[in-house]
Symmetry: C2
Subunit: 229 residues, 2 copies
């Protein structure tokens, strides 16, 4: 696996959830609400959210990521036999608009910008979710564009979504790098010919076996900035 990216990268598109925003930062609050089940709820909620995005894309029955996130929360709480009041549901959904960013995100983005790279978000998240989250985290000014799969009515890893980033940023496939902590997302981007950076946020996590590897494997956005000299 290569450890340095091609020199012609002009822009980087970042996945949002799990890459910039820590979706498990709400585990503690879930644990307060449902003692003994906080981790299980957060994990099943996240797994179902992803599964529903894939299933609905393949069924041709798109609903936006906010709706899927709510559907996944309802499924997860029902499956774990947790009583979700309307108030708790509202609180947990609102938490998705105020997720914590990983500690390396703000310094990493600043370092990448000083290297002259254009930065963007390319996410399955609905536009209103992304707007709220970047503003809450104070990283909205770091990005030249915030792009959502929502305008295509299909989710990543559909090739169309990665193609949207090149079109919108007016760069060629060879000029765009894609950054994600989700190994499947890296495979999806690599399958369309993009240069890919897998942020391996869990030590020892294996790469998904989907036939396409990351160009570079890194452990933080600081490492990423370091690759650009």
């Amino acid at each position: 696996m290569a450890t340095t990216p091609p020199g012609n990268i002009k822009a980087l598109a970042f996945d949002a959830y799990g890459t910039l925003f820590d979706v498990f930062s709400i585990t503690a609050r879930c644990e307060q609400l449902f003692p003994g089940s906080g981790a299980a709820l957060t994990q099943l909620w996240r797994a179902k959210q992803l599964q529903y995005s894939l299933l609905r894309s393949l069924m041709g029955r798109y609903e936006d990521f906010w709706q899927l996130t709510e559907d996944a929360l309802l499924y997860a709480s029902e499956s774990l036999k947790l009583e979700l009041t309307a108030a708790t549901q509202q609180e947990l959904m609102d938490a998705y608009l105020n997720l914590a960013v990983f500690p390396d995100v703000r310094p990493g983005l600043v370092a990448l910008k000083t290297r002259g790279l254009r930065l963007a978000i390319l996410s399955n998240g609905a536009p209103n979710m992304l707007d709220a989250a970047v503003k809450h985290a104070g990283i909205d000014t770091a990005f030249d564009a915030i792009m959502s799969a929502d305008e295509l009515n299909i989710f990543k890893p559909s090739p169309q979504v990665y193609g949207l980033a090149c079109t919108r940023l007016r760069v060629s496939t060879g000029e765009l790098g894609f950054v994600s902590s989700n190994s499947w997302d890296v495979s999806g981007a690599a399958s369309t010919g993009l240069t890919t950076f897998w942020v391996q946020r869990s030590a020892g996590e294996p790469a998904d076996r989907l036939g396409f590897s990351a160009t570079c494997v890194i452990t933080s956005l600081d490492d990423l900035a370091g690759l650009f000299g």
Copy 2:
């Protein structure tokens, strides 16, 4: 939710894995091979197998279900830090060709056939996997057709796959019933207009929230035969 199917059903198409064949019947052997990790291995293996079928379908990078099953096994064992020898890998893959059927399957199929219904399998499984499994279980003669998503190079819940069953069995959408224990599979079939039967094999398991409910919810194939009088 309706409890009786429309009277014009002429044929039933069954999902295979989880519906006819118990994919968790290999848990005990996995536990012998990897003490303390048998259930975790079987569950992660199955979850990844499904996830890879969805991801590859959406990426447009089809590989057959045998390949995905192997990729999922390799991922799951690596993730759980279990050392998978070549011999163990072979044994576990071969187990997929010799899965146990649920106890209600043989009597249920016989009862349905005596009611004049044509029976078929519609599965994501590769043809060689399905052929081996139905022969091993001695249920091969129960079916008029064994259909695999493999001929379309895309997996369920793509609407194309459910459409294949109507074409092959020469029945209209209204004349075909689809039977699955996988709630997402029921939703996929219902989304194409088929009459659907959800075999709820785990008591209390919630239905997936994908916008399409089962026509009938049953707990076994015996119940299913009962619906046809």
